[in-house]
């Protein structure tokens, strides 16, 4: 299993993702935003950070990096793509995922571990039973997910809402997301479930020395999926 972790100017979690993947026994290497070759990678990660300073709009400039055209092709062929935090914002700007991420409701950056409820979804990056609760840190200023009502409807019907913010017991208050996200949505995927965007940082919850390990499941799920396909 080999993860390709894209490095945009201003990315700052790429080393963390590579460390986490390798810690879990997978291969992981960097992909420069100017490169256009994703061959040899089983999954692509758009890591967190502040690509192009998050100036203008988060992800707005990174979306035009040469590598993104290739990421679009990779995703179209069913290749697994995950966008974490800034990566999620880039996927939305690139229209690989619906909606957009606005300033947090309180206008404050939030770095905190949160509880997330795994929803019943088609997402290939998750193999935890629906309803399970994971604890993973969030770390963003623009995680306030929004989309228009029709899109929300299609997300619900298509099983494309992957994670929701909840309390320790897994209870979701649709209006109580720490960042104000619509329907407390923390992560969504595309129709086919191979493209996944989430605000929380699974790579920060992998190594027991620095806290919990709930984030490992996402790396494991997709690796299992890839191995299965490889037969």
């Amino acid at each position: 299993m080999r993860f390709g972790v894209v490095v945009f100017p201003g990315s700052n979690c790429e080393q963390d993702v590579v460390h986490a993947a390798r810690h879990l026994g997978f291969e992981a290497d960097y992909v420069w935003h100017g490169d256009t070759d994703l061959s040899g990678f089983d999954a692509v990660v758009l890591p967190g950070g502040f690509s192009y300073g998050d100036y203008l709009r988060c992800g707005a400039v990174a979306r035009f990096s040469p590598v993104m055209a290739e990421v679009v092709r990779f995703a179209a062929k069913g290749g697994p793509v995950i966008g974490i935090c800034n990566g999620f914002q880039i996927l939305c700007e690139a229209h690989l995922l619906p909606g957009a991420l606005l300033r947090n409701r309180g206008l404050k950056f939030i770095c905190r571990e949160v509880s997330l409820r795994v929803e019943d979804s088609v997402c290939q990056w998750v193999d935890l039973p629906a309803g399970s609760v994971v604890r993973i840190p969030i770390n963003h200023n623009e995680g306030n997910f929004i989309c228009d009502p029709e899109v929300l409807k299609s997300l619900k019907e298509g099983g494309r809402i992957v994670l929701r913010y909840c309390d320790e017991d897994g209870v979701v208050d649709l209006d109580a997301a720490p960042n104000g996200a619509l329907d407390a949505i923390a992560g969504v995927c595309n129709e086919t479930g191979n493209v996944f965007g989430l605000m929380p940082h699974p790579e920060r919850a992998v190594d027991p020395v620095t806290g919990r390990t709930d984030g490992a499941a996402f790396f494991g799920a997709i690796a299992g999926r890839v191995a299965a396909l490889a037969g």
């Binding site: 203008l56 709009r57 707005a60 035009f64 606005l102 206008l107 929004i146 228009d148």
Partner: protein, 79 residues
């Protein structure tokens, strides 16, 4: 050099956190007459003489505005 001015605003129905917070702050400061506050972008572009408005529109659609949440308006500034 010619100058274009681009106004980028949230689509109606899109919640604008900075605007909402500014509105609350103003009311708390005693400006109770304030209703809705919306905060958009005011972008000035200096471009080579003869750059067409269509070029500028393309820049807006591609980069300066996000059609999912934003509308934009272009004006040619008087030189």
């Amino acid at each position: 050099m010619a100058r274009y001015v681009v106004y980028v605003t949230y689509k109606t129905g899109i919640f604008d956190p900075p605007g909402a917070t500014a509105q609350r702050a103003l009311v708390n400061m005693g400006y109770c007459e304030v209703g809705d506050v919306r905060i958009g972008k005011y972008i000035t572009l200096d471009v080579a003489e003869g750059t067409s408005e269509d070029r500028v529109r393309a820049m807006c659609e591609k980069l300066l505005a996000n059609p999912v949440i934003e509308d934009f308006r272009i004006e040619k500034a008087e030189g």
